[in-house]
Symmetry: C2
Amino acid sequence: MSKPATIRDVAAAAGISIAVVSRVLNDGSGPVAPATRQRVMKAIEELSYRPRTAARELKSGPTTTLGLLLADVTNPFFARLADSIVREARSRGVHVILMTTQEDARLEEDALDTLAARRVGGVIATPTSTNAESWLRLIDLGTNIVFVDRYVEGVSRADLVSIDNDRSAREATEHLLDLGHTRIGFISGPLSTTTGRARTEGHLATLAERGVATDPQLLRNIPFRGDQGADATGSLLNLPTPPTAIIVANTAQVAASVRRIRQSSVRVPEDLSLIVFDDNPWTELFTPSLTIMRQPTTLMAAHSVDLALQRIGDDSERRTIVIEAEFVVRSSTRTAG
Amino acid sequence: MSKPATIRDVAAAAGISIAVVSRVLNDGSGPVAPATRQRVMKAIEELSYRPRTAARELKSGPTTTLGLLLADVTNPFFARLADSIVREARSRGVHVILMTTQEDARLEEDALDTLAARRVGGVIATPTSTNAESWLRLIDLGTNIVFVDRYVEGVSRADLVSIDNDRSAREATEHLLDLGHTRIGFISGPLSTTTGRARTEGHLATLAERGVATDPQLLRNIPFRGDQGADATGSLLNLPTPPTAIIVANTAQVAASVRRIRQSSVRVPEDLSLIVFDDNPWTELFTPSLTIMRQPTTLMAAHSVDLALQRIGDDSERRTIVIEAEFVVRSSTRTAG
DNA sequence: CCCCCCAGTGTAATCGATTCCACTTTGTTC
DNA sequence: GAACAAAGTGGAATCGATTACACTGGGGGG
């Protein structure tokens, strides 16, 4: 009800100056007599005083807050990433401001503005836009950026944590080739995103190396948001010569794709082998349990936070941390019939 | 690289005083000559100046930031809630700081402290602790609280947005009774949480009203986090006289429960009817597609943000908004026997 | 022709912390 | 016993914005 106490109120209550109170607050910033410290602590307790972050940040820029800019928390991959990052950050005494872009470049720009105004210590982001300019502006302000999963070309002086998208696409493709499949449907993200492009290239390169003909009809690069996963899958199944296997390398579209397959008369894995890029409990619950490519989110989170906090004050070039994706073979893939 | 521009730099560049620059920044706070405004805008652009939030908040308390304190973003229900709330808040020009408690009372206390230090305008939360004190302290500081889904008893002067837990449990129970089931397993949250208690009571009351004997063995109140969902489900299935139907009213434990059922030899819905409290795409993908109780997250989000922002400056008693849950009958429930 | 009002601008106080520096009071060391 | 170091404390500047208030000119009403 009454106005919150300030440092001056505490000082008055303890019969001491505000400088000393501040020293008690920031332990180690100067000497304080034990008796005085006691009195100050008591006053703080009684007034239930909490130093105001806004005032603190005004003096010394905040190393204490990280911005987390995700495309979409609804996507379980990002949700787990968010969870891990928040936990990881807290264990280091750092707070996280979460913002989402909904895969919309304008909203992203908005969010970056906010983060810039807040002068956060660092930003961990899965970028949406291809527009390097807004990122560079933020970097110029002294913010350090860590891209996770995807990145923006042209923005050096930003770190990167990612799985090896190229390699994971290769691995999935090789698995199917080994099983004798040659007509493989491949659903991935837009070629404008780094993940979409790298995975598609890895897939195509593997086919080429194995001397398997590539059919452009089998390739689907679709957006992360929206419902095109169902359509893309449906059109693959309805091809004159349909694929005998499908890789869904667009994490956000896995559910829509699987739903579409389930509604069709196609049986998995008898008629169709299926690999999805997703790390989600339900892939195991599905009938048949799905073969997946898993991205180790906890590890990615730890590295991201590390980089975001380390780089402060540093000015070196981009550092890239590549994390192995884990390929889990379950029951949705089998020898081509 | 160079230090970010301040309002003084802008004023100097435009050949004007800082007061006028501030007026340009906060449109409507005072008269500015059109020509002057132009020059100021130009200077802002050239210096890529962004007013610093910390400084702004120091003067006038921030109506512009909301705290969101969730138990667990990994839980899809909370993830969708977070997504909707962030979106909803942004459309009102408000930012959201997300923090998670991992269902841990100490972490929650921590988070509340941070939020208090930040003097956020409001907090939307799914409380974990039963400890009213920390909440009351935050309220005393002038923060207004909106509880979602669960609430803490003894904290009036905080709003509440929730589905009718009692009623939804009744509805699910009645559906099964109508199908002829009389031995119904009921898995819910801890009785220390309001949702766990209300759902359990609703379930028991319905049984009583219909004259069905209640067997304590069929009741399982388990934590939200952790793995007890599997054990609870397993022990229900292994009872001497196992239930012919199960309601999983603990959203966080749905996946674990379903996995356990799937690993057993029990067939759904032939041997066991199943209702889960969850609103998640995969419940439709599961074989058989699951009958669910859905909580309309978008609506809950809209109301929460509304309340959080409205109450500012208001001092009335708690307002409660109850939202209808949506019961979706699919293929996992059928006539008993 | 005088006065009042208002558009347009500037000065300075203010928000709540941190921190540099100066000052006093002890205790230590030749 | 003089000199000096270190502990403990306080005064005041500072961070970057907002805003109350004072000031100046010029136009319009009386």
